[in-house]
Amino acid sequence: MTTKDEKAPLMEVRDLTLVHRGSSGSTPIVRDVSFSLGYGQVLGIIGESGAGKSTIGNAVIGLLAPGIEQTGGSIRMNGIALETLDAERRRALRGGAIASIFQDHTSSLDPLMTIGAQLGETIAALSPDLPRAEVRKRAVALLERVGIPEPARRYNSYPHQLSGGQRQRVVIATALAGSPSIIVADEPTSALDATVQKQILRVLKGLVEEKGLSILLITHDMGVIAEIADRVVVMKNGAVVEQGSTAALLENPQDVYTRNLLSAVPKLRRSNVDVRADTPAGADGNPGQAECRPARDAILVVDNLSKTFGGKSILRMFGTEKPGFALRDVNIRLPRGGVLGIVGESGSGKSTIGRILAGLETGNADKIELNGKACDITYRGRGGGLLGQVQMVFQDPSSSLNPRLTVVEALTECVRATARSGDDRSRSRIAKTIERLGLQQAHLDRYPHQLSGGQKQRVCIARALLAGPQIMIADEPTSALDVSVQAEILSLLKETVAENDLSMIFISHDLAVVQDICDEVCVMRNGRIEDYGTSDFIFGRSENPYTRHLIDARPKIFTR
């Protein structure tokens, strides 16, 4: 592939300024942004939320949100300034020369149409004279191109019959229907598991190499950038902080912000991975259970925890459908004062374990003991054995707080609900706690929507803490946050658990995060425990193929 970006770039953005005009005056969203995208190049735009990166993508596509205007600069494609084109020609460009892929593969497809019909509709719209058979042939070819297995059969599938990764492939196929020269991909893999993300990125990379496409890749994930981008533009608060070739930028970032961004990405430690080479092969077949169980006693013992779905309803009584297992024979020992990590891909049942232990869902187990006392998990609600002893921190802080309660109201309720005696020191306890968690007194009277994501997550941790639990369960507590905030919240969680003599179960899909924070790790797959052992064992010496597969799915630069 020859890159001719020295001569005439395919797209050139110069001094682009985008302004939001609201009732309270106009605020700049993007200021004086310049970059160029060459033929067959992948240009990554990276930044945290609010950096204006998606707005730039929308400007290139020509779909700015209402109220946002381009007040300066230009976007030139093949030398033609796009902003001078009329609406009609702009629309012709969209879906033609400039295609787009969005994050949410579920809402990008019409649930009532087969994927073939949707693809065919796009093809037919772009070349109306094409006979039907030819449209179908092209659609099948596109599906094959993006790696859908058995495309001719899948042609008649509905979106819900495909996996997330396959749906995103279909979205890419739709984008390819107009034979575009530029694809604007806005967080194309953020909603996908790491292994699937890797496959999708490979599809995109293949398109660049074979068809000479150019991709404008908008993401918050350094891993994605490292994987396929040739050049990177780092953005912060609507302005470009730094840009350059990916290799140079990752090796030697110039700006402080870029450096912080890079160092905030959790990395798998090399030393541990290397240990594997020294270990003699052929460790025993069931290493996890036998391996180095620490001498510490377990605060929580779970034996043969199972959960079924379906099959129990009266309606299905006469059906032949067998009940499915969400969890099957899960054994867990949570060491007192320790952190147990549960990793797995979506649908592996890792969140279900947490929800059962917190008393939010029911399950069946041979034995569940907290501090040596047996607990009943077969029913929900008050009186449930683990209620109040286990508190959760959830993934999405913005929906984890009641929008109608101020911070102090939410926390007071929590203190009152769990107070051992009539406790009127709640306000001072709350004040002390939130201060320890890095919030200020002024935050107490705010509503959740007046706080940032990181602040909201701190409030959630405070709430869990004030309930006086023995065990904290953190279910992907950092996945919805910006990278720089993720690191803060993680270290805060770690300190909090240590300071308050708590034990923690940490649920995540991100191996690097788990490695940093956990003493023991349990790898879940399809509702079963696939691999179990100390953190060092799992990341260093485990021979389990699935564990290795997960570790290898990490973007290369972050495992080195």
Partner: protein, 291 residues
Amino acid sequence: MTIMTSLRLSQRRIRGALTLPNGILALFVLAAITAPVLAPQNPYDMLQILGWEASSPPGTMSGNGYRYLLGTDGLGRDIASCILYGLRISLVVSVVSAAAAAAIGLTLGVVAAYFGRWVDAVIMRAVDLQLSLPTMLVALIAIVTLGPGVDRIILALIIVQWATYARVVRSVALSEAGKPYVDAVRTMPLSHGRIILRHLLPNSIAPAITLLPIEIGHAVALEATLSFLGLGVPMDQPSLGSTVANGFQYLLTGQYWISLFPGFALFALIAAINFAGEDIRRLWDPRSRSL
């Protein structure tokens, strides 16, 4: 937040609420409250009515020394006064019945969503049953069984309306109940009642508030229909609806004013209530407070 900024906020909110429909609605309410002072005649008091001035066109001078601005009906009652007094009945009936129906429907909808399983099944099948019967039929049966009277009408309207609220609120409460903030309070030893009242209900109330003015308007119309059919409020206590009904037989003889003006009042009232509803919904949302 300092006092100054909160003052400025509330000022802006007040100014935002000063719209034409809200003004008209306020005028209606004011007129209904002050009807005994405002109205030249008490149409419920037979002694004040001059039978020989029946069916006078608008603008006629009365023997009692005032002008029949909107004319008189077939019994000699001043239409303007009938509208003022009728407003009282219509507003009380519709607001009370809609509010009570909303409270019942809201509670049942949230309870159904929170507990699920058989509680949900029982409540929602009752809702289905209620909604599958024609509104008018249920109201008629209720009135016939309960007998006439303003309080009975209110009861009949509650029976007719609660199910709509329950259905709308349940769907929202169902999605709210699945959010982690509800999960979070469920992991604490709090009573179900508290979780529902403090967490689930306030966040599921928005559709009920949107529905409320529509249903108030609906109740005004339904009461008018019942009164029109002679099954509504008693003849000696005319509501807007029964005033329209009174003039219906005179329309063909050219005495348009008896039905037309109360009809206009009815229309303006329902329209103003519907418009005002949107403002109420906006004010309920805490996110709009910081704007």
